[in-house]
Amino acid sequence: MDKLDNQQLLAQLQQHFAEGIIRYEEPYGLLTIHTKKELILDILRFLKDTAGFIYLTDITAVHYPERENTFEIVYHVHNLVENVRIRIKVSIPVNEPTIPSATAVWAGANWMERETYDFFGVEFEGHPDLRRILNMDELDVFPMRREYPLEDPNRVDKRDFYFGR
């Protein structure tokens, strides 16, 4: 059998999800497809059950405040037998940051999605236990969003001499 390459994989995906693959690119040889959030579970299931991508490497999000669809949820999935990785991206708006949870496909998505929720406030629908994970429960912001800056290193009220150093 031929080794699965990005072109074959892309052809398979385009055949099954014709208009679902909005666009694709291949930065550094890693096939990256952009899709819609309605289709994400179908694509993940297809990859897992049919294409042999049994291993969920990572789920994370990126915040692009200047875009119309502010959040980009990024999935890295790995076919261990053929040794092919694929990156799937879904863009969702900030006023409705919801996406179906991948916990229905992989149990391991649980904490990855909790972490993403914790830092970006993305709601994963159908997640069994969507709570904050690294930050404290009382926190009322989502700290990895771009509007929350790091503490200013030039703050005058934190000079060392105020603390006797």
Partner: protein, 411 residues
Amino acid sequence: MSKPITELTSNRPVFEEHDPEEELTTLNLGPTHPATHGVFQNVLQIDGERIVSGVSTIGYIHRAFEKIAEHRPFYQITPLTDRLNYCSAPINNMGWHMTVEKLLEIEIPKRVQYMRVIVMELARIADHIICNGILGVDTGAFSGFLYLMQEREFIYEIFEEICGARLTTNIGRIGGFERDFNEVAFSKIEAFIKRFPPVLSEFQELFTRNRIFIERTSNVAAVIPEQALDYSWSGPILRATGVDYDVRVQSPYCSYEEFDFDVPVGTNGDVYDRFMVRNEEMWQSMRIIEQALQKIEKEPKGVFHADVPEFYLPPKEQVYTNMEALIYHFKIVMGEWETPKSEVYHAVEGANGELGFYLIHDGGRTPYRLHFRRPSFINYQMFAPMSSGMLISDAIINMSSLNVIAGELDA
């Protein structure tokens, strides 16, 4: 509010509402329990000694590295990666350097790659020494830990000779190393290669066929491969279940494809198998180091970084005397370098599994987004579900064999 005292009918306590034999006890295992080896908490519901259910609480040493990384140029992120898995910091450092080099498409000389392999494998040995030594302590055998811990000291001395630091090493630079390994470093590595095998053999003899150890660990927390893959496990604990996924073999970096080594796998996925896999990986790491030393001999001497002046800091004495070096130094330190707008995912085989760096770069001074795929974080999420039905003492050695490092867990 106290209950009115009624007439005593018996001198034995009367429990009408709660039968203590049926009541569950809530046990806080952690956050600062000596058996957890790190700051993380598990709230366990226990029935006698048996765990009924558990909830993991993590984040006690969360330091917002991903946020900080968005405000720092590339070379200032290396010290952050030190503090992920601080038991094997050089692997994290090298993984980060390689991620940036992949982004910038820098070609690394072979000799530097072999030097990196030596450093990474030493770090892997140091990490496995901790894990297996502590597993011995948790099962009640303290002496093996002491034998191995002394060897870790020699590994740290090698790191000290190479980069000056021992634990949080900040070793290497983007493009290579900050300086060449000196003669003392090479002689220390060779001395370590000679002295470590007998100690490791002795350690193995203490445990491998030890009946108490086998009965304590065998069939404890056994995981089938399907379940391990479902939970995205990676590293020695995944290989202990029988899945031969090793990033060094699957997606070789740093010329690992040139090395002759085996990937040990287990069969049952229990604590004993994880112990055996880690032991065997130490032997394989020794093989790799020996081969790397031989390969370095054949490479031109004195090469310790790639020839990329726009990304690799010039020597300090040249900065003071040479105009060009000063300009490069200034541009690198201020982050004024030409970088592609792209995104890259690079994974290395950390001591605990697939350590991935997902870097999105918009051409600015700092990464637009940097995400660490931390193996401990992803491996640990199965701990609470798999603990239910287990004895507390089994759960403790299960946690010990998962080798959860709090720094990597919380990032």
